[in-house]
Symmetry: C2
């Protein structure tokens, strides 16, 4: 395996009823801003629970952080932070709210314009407002990592930043809080977590046995629990396993010392920015086609994936690899996430604008070998029609 550094100081508090722990997790004198998305956090009582646990502390709210959280929206939260002398943030929601909160935490303490921070991808961040998260949707892993992706709506661009200053101080994971999610969000979450793993696993072998086994363990868990969690929304055990799997998928652990791909995400980001597909829908569309396009290069890991995750024991390495790709596509469909551009009313006329956006954003050498150029992206998208 390759040399690596691993660091993840986020405290995870997991299980039913743990929102009450906020009373001890948040500093006693903190002035708190609670960020959330739509009205479900209020409707299902989570905001009230959070407020109650915070006791006498100053607590304000900032609602309306949208999926693919917008730079333009979050500037308003930064203004509120400054107006009210806020010194602690709590994100109540899924990955979008947490990503947005990371941006607010960092930009509020950044000495220049927030856009500068994004353009530098967080590389010169020195500090951020401390914050925690109350997770209500398992998918992105943002609750346990230092990554944030912000959408700059004016330019239809997704911009990621990374910094140790934006690890959540804590994240509370109560599986019960995910019972009320609509099936579309559950399916999306399963696909998102699954593809976070494949981006770090389906590359080429470097004999990193622990990382491979852990990645396969997460994938096996998603395959076993995914369909059950769609069918049985209030099955606590199933939701627990799904929730912990999603956090492990992108907390850094399975990605240490191994090559990374991430081409599926880069292509997918443009599909969201231009055509408004859900993040996970874009991944489900791109991944199977990308694996077909790169089947030969990825064959060794694809065959291992076939054997260990899908239990495919028969056939040549090439046959196993092909079968694994088919099974992956079927799995996404089985949790309700469609895998063809045509399923989202897109035809081949969508491809030129996507390629132009990829080119404009410098996405011309993607994948673990940096050999997925714009021609390869075009072939991948054509396979996805």
């Amino acid at each position: 395996m390759n040399n690596f550094e691993f660091f993840n100081p986020t405290r995870i508090v997991f299980g039913e009823g743990e929102i009450s722990r906020l009373s001890s997790l948040v500093p006693e004198k903190a002035r708190v801003l609670v960020l959330f998305g739509g009205e479900s956090a209020r409707k299902f009582g989570t905001l009230d629970e959070v407020k109650a646990a915070l006791g006498d502390r100053h607590v304000s709210f900032f609602g309306g952080v949208e999926a693919n959280p917008k730079y333009e929206t979050l500037l308003n939260a930064i203004a509120q932070v400054k107006d009210e002398n806020i010194d602690f943030l709590i994100a109540v929601g899924g990955g979008s709210v947490i990503d947005g909160t990371k941006f607010v935490a960092a930009a509020s303490r950044y000495p220049s314009e927030p856009m500068q921070m994004l353009k530098k991808a967080g590389s010169d961040l020195k500090e951020a407002i401390p914050f925690g998260a109350v997770l209500t949707l398992s998918a992105t892993g943002s609750e346990m990592n230092k990554i944030s992706v912000i959408t700059y709506a004016a330019a239809k661009a997704k911009m990621a930043f990374f910094s140790e200053t934006v690890f959540p101080q804590f994240s509370i994971l109560d599986p019960v809080k995910t019972f009320t999610l609509p099936p579309r969000q559950i399916g999306n979450g399963i696909v998102d977590a699954f593809i976070h793993v494949t981006e770090q696993y389906l590359t080429y072998p470097v004999n990193a046995k622990i990382q491979d086994r852990f990645a396969e363990g997460i994938l096996q868990t998603l395959v076993e629990e995914g369909p059950k969690t769609v069918e049985q929304p209030d099955n606590y055990e199933v939701r627990s396993n799904l929730m912990w799997a999603a956090s492990q998928a992108l907390n850094g652990l399975i990605g240490v010392g191994v090559p990374h791909d991430w081409a599926t995400h880069m292509i997918g980001h443009e599909l969201t920015a231009l055509y408004g597909l859900d993040h996970a829908q874009t991944l489900a569309v791109v991944l199977p086609s990308l694996l077909e396009e790169k089947q030969q290069q990825k064959q060794s890991k694809l065959a291992q994936f076939a054997e260990r995750v899908w239990g495919v024991q028969q056939g040549s390495e090439a046959e196993k690899a092909a079968q694994a790709i088919s099974l992956t596509r079927e799995f996404f469909e089985s949790v309700g996430v469609k895998t063809r551009l045509s399923d989202y009313q897109l035809d081949e006329t969508c491809i030129d604008p996507l390629i132009k956006h990829l080119s404009d954003h410098g996405m011309t050498r993607l994948g673990e070998h940096r050999d997925i150029d714009l021609d390869a992206c075009r072939r991948i998208l054509q396979r996805s029609l």
Copy 2:
């Protein structure tokens, strides 16, 4: 799965040549005490490398931290810390040196007698001197956890303490530094890591799928790489996998939300204290007998262990469980660690003193069901003759 909390802020820096990173990992103005064990750290140049990486900083050394580090020895290190106004510690060695360093770090800042801190098992620790580790022996996982076990030689007792204040700030894991270890220490390390996993895995099922898969992934890696690392001491890839497996075995991750056993360790500690067996030797002697004694109670997880780790697909659940126990014993022997008391020149006359020690130390209700009483301990030891 059960509710849990997970927190692990230790920074891991992994790979060949990474000792040079000390120059940036240790504060610039630090006054450093480097703790080490025997002369191998000096002989193989590791101490020189550490000193060189620390540049102009004040650096002192404290050698002679023994296996099963002694309270009495470590008091001298605490005196040196105070004499020299030391404010940063570096452990160079394996689990014993790191455990000892944790004790020195905590006791040096503890307002009462160090023995008080141990008697309270670290529960009232408020701070410790910050420290890092340079690992030269993979086994205990101490490089990435908050656990320390100290031997109070005067009472022939092992005393553990636990505190978030004694997480290493960083640990440097360079597999090359383990090439020179004698086979006995390599075998011991493999067994130690293996049994750290089984203590958290071979209990009863709570449907914690990620924890189970990760535990099995570590065990599979140890089974695959263990014999190779004994045979090929300078195989970098094999040592890398072993090293990362051992850290993952006891960094808290596989133990969250699941029942724990630890009876093997508690019985084993008395074998070391009374008869001087290596820690891993005691575990290899106790575990197979304990699993036989508790086979029925643990049968479901034993059968899963048989299937997933040992590839046993034939037979009833009971037969699979029995086969897994046999294969485990054979595995320990295959890496050079004997599994019978008679292999260590002990006969049944050793048992009464062990039972008395267990009783004196309050070890009368061990295991995940708290039902391993002194009679059960006796039966386990008799099976181990």
